[in-house]
């Protein structure tokens, strides 16, 4: 891991079973779609490495994380947990907010967001119902 290196944007197109992922060093991070990769930890490894490097660098004033995941398998659930864990740690000295975005009819997505809120009391997670 090269500390202090210039961060590049990372963008991954959505597939049938992975979300669109957009990681911008200007402080906007977004996950949109479904998540049930064949091997979740391998798939998300570049994302976790990018985030690790991002939080190790000089950060923009604030970071906004938009999570709009329609449904996900249990290993993605674990992965998001680990990711929020990393963000909670980084967020202690930095303004970071997670927007957990869900469709009003998607009760299970809302419940998943509520569970994350309960698990991360030092991380700001906003539940946002899509209008």
């Amino acid at each position: 891991m090269i500390r202090g290196a210039v961060m590049e944007k990372l963008h991954l197109e959505a597939t049938q079973y992975t979300p669109e992922i957009s990681l911008d060093p200007n402080g906007v991070i977004a996950f949109t779609g479904k998540s049930y990769p064949e091997n979740t930890f391998d798939f998300y490894q570049p994302v976790m490495e990018w985030l690790d490097q991002y939080f190790g660098n000089e950060l923009p004033e604030r970071t906004v994380v938009n999570m709009e995941i329609i449904y996900f398998n249990s290993s993605s659930s674990k992965l998001f947990f680990d990711m929020f864990d990393m963000m909670e740690e980084a967020g202690s000295e930095h303004a970071l907010e997670v927007n957990w975005i869900y469709d009003p009819e998607n009760e299970s997505a809302r419940e998943a967001g509520e569970d994350f809120i309960e698990d991360f009391d030092k991380l700001t997670i906003n539940l946002i119902e899509k209008g």
Binding site: Y17, Y36, N73, K78, D82, E118
Partner: protein, 179 residues
Amino acid sequence: MDIKAIEKILEADGIVFLTYGGFITQSLIAGMTDALERESEKKDINQRLANNIFVIFIELSQNMMNYSKSRESAGEAFDPKGLIVVGKGESDSYYILSQNILDRSDRDKIQPKLEEIQRLDNEALKLRYRELRKSGRDSHGKGAGIGFYEIAKRCDRIQYEFIPIGDDKYYFQFKAIVK
């Protein structure tokens, strides 16, 4: 109970949306999930119920896929045929049923989890799920080790059976009923 017998039951058991028996791959799972999405749109199933069906289907089929991959890479003679069925049960309920062959050692790993799940009420199950997710146990394996808890959280009830077929092998039959 063999696969033929299951087919007979299914024929007598309401509307089947999807049934597949054979070697399971990720692209097949994605295709079948897509088919389920179309089916649920056509049937106007509400999104909460539909998402629960998709996630349970994905968990069970990925379980079978990962299991057969692990057996193949171990170089063991193994019958990878899995059976998975999604159908409509009684009074607006739906079911997801799976069957595959397991060794005794695998049964011994799965059975205690399922027994625990059967004992827990909804609230306790949610807490246990979050506790296991937090612990990071098994997190370097293929899954997170919380798949059955994920399924149980999303369904009304589960049923399962390990049927010995000799040579220390079992049919593992699992059914999740969602409402």
